[in-house]
Amino acid sequence: MIKLRGVSLVYPNGTRALDDVDLEIEKGSFVFLVGHSGTGKSSLLKLLYREEFPSAGEVTVDGIRVDTLRRGRVPKLRRNIGVVFQDFKLLSHKTVWENVAFALQVTGTRTRDVMRMVPRSLDLVGLSHKSRMFPSELSGGEQQRTAIARALVGNPKLLLCDEPTGNLDPSNTTEIMELLQRINLKGTTVLVATHNQAVVDRMRRRVVRLEHGKILHDDERGYYFRGLGQTAVLPG
């Protein structure tokens, strides 16, 4: 699904966000991308939906070379990738339903399909009963679920989450992570960038750790800190 080969990203101000990264992520997998803030997690995600260009190397998503993709082709790429952020990025003057439908409407989806796809997506995140509410009337967890519904409404193959639980309390965090797991079980590849140790250690999924723009370690069923998983959950 995702293949990075020798990818570097240097910002115009000279900051080296990524340094010769090689990474491969299979279709249908669930992967955590961990590391302190500023270690290049967001930058890596941005390369995947072509918000950023790599300074060197190749970026392939679902068989498409993203780094050499023509500008006009970017919208089509993005319709196949759902993205969720820490700050939800919902439109405050639109209801839950309208926020989710927006993603379809602005990509020219037929009204008939919008009417069919929006309820399905709201049902998946468990917000059907709140579809007429505005974001300000929802809890943080519900807002993030709305954002996830919007990201998924077009049936993307890949879901990218940039600190999806960064603004949420522990119980909402658990709720969101369970939802992401359900989504993954339905076949969507999920890539979550986070620095929430508890979440990572509880889930026991593949963990890719970035440090100073390089991959420090990459473990199947890993912990936030390599080898420290057990101590992290032990009391004291």
């Binding site: 939906y49 993005r78 990509t107």
Partner: protein
């Protein structure tokens, strides 16, 4: 036709338009002021042109014949004059007819009782199709041996022609300047609305909306502002015309104030719409080029 799509699109345009009502008001006002100026200018220009063409079409070359030329020979000249393709009409005015005409024009003030002989020569009044040709035709006629002298309002013709040409060019320049200033104001307004909606644009780009699709509502918005501004301006101009033109017509009775109002209105609306479209296209384009 997918009415749901259309409703969504129009809903977006309307919602954004009303949400930025204050800014739109400024833009509409500026367009209105610009177009009022443009409209008055076009009105004045068209009036002058109509007046000028009217005057030019009435310019006659007076062809005075030599005294010795008999009536029969003078009549002969008519066919020579008519043979010239540039000549529209040649009227023969004999000595007697000339006196009568003068009496008609001057009325009682013209006292013929003091005259012992008729001092007027036999003459032709020649009307030329194209005012530009007047000097050339006059020179050609003057070469005829039967003609004593030709006379026409040479200076006036030349000046009028020159004025018309200058006005035409100045008009184009002025229209361009005014349109550019209106476009700049609309562009700034749209830029502000684009800025106010950067979140929405970011989301649109994120979920894979094409640039064209993102642009379209803004362009519709700009067009709406332009057309509304032009409509306001047309209203103001119509009011002004109703107030001012009757008074002008009284004082300047010889000028006709007939302007093709429908064409003028359509022109102004088109200018408003075009200015709005171009302005918003440019200001959104700059934002999308990330």
């Amino acid at each position: 036709m997918d009415w749901g799509k259309l409703r969504f699109f129009l809903g977006e345009v309307f919602a954004n338009f009303t949400r930025n009502a204050g800014m739109q008001f400024t833009a509409i006002g500026t367009v209105a002021v610009t177009i009022v100026l443009l409209g008055s200018f076009l009105f004045v220009r068209e009036t002058i042109q109509t007046f000028g063409t009217g005057v030019l079409s009435q310019i006659e070359i007076a062809v005075y014949l030599k005294d010795g030329v008999t009536d029969a020979k003078a009549k002969d000249l008519a066919s020579t004059l008519a043979a010239d393709p540039r000549v529209a009409k040649a009227t023969y005015v004999s000595k007697a007819a000339g006196i009568k005409r003068m009496q008609d024009v001057l009325g009682k003030d013209f006292d013929t009782s003091l005259l012992t002989t008729n001092p007027l020569p036999n003459a032709y009044h020649v009307r030329v199709k194209d005012a530009d040709e007047v000097p050339a035709v006059a020179r050609a006629i003057a070469r005829d041996p039967r003609v004593a002298k030709t006379d026409y309002a040479a200076d006036t013709v030349q000046k009028l022609l020159k004025t018309a040409a200058v006005l035409g060019r100045a008009g184009i320049a002025l229209i361009a300047l005014l349109s550019i200033s209106a476009a700049i104001v609309i562009a700034n307004t749209i830029r502000l609305t684009v800025f106010a909606r950067r979140r929405e644009i970011a989301i649109m780009q994120l979920v894979g909306a094409t640039n064209m699709y993102i642009r379209l509502p803004f362009i519709a918005e700009g067009m709406l502002a332009g057309v509304l501004g032009a409509s306001v301006a047309i209203g103001v101009l119509a009011l002004a015309q109703a107030q001012v033109v009757p008074k002008l017509a009284q004082t300047l009775a010889f000028v006709s104030f007939q302007v093709n109002e429908l064409t003028l209105c359509l022109e102004l609306l088109a200018v408003g719409a075009a200015v709005g479209i171009i302005a918003s296209w440019l200001s959104v384009g700059r934002y999308l080029r990330t």
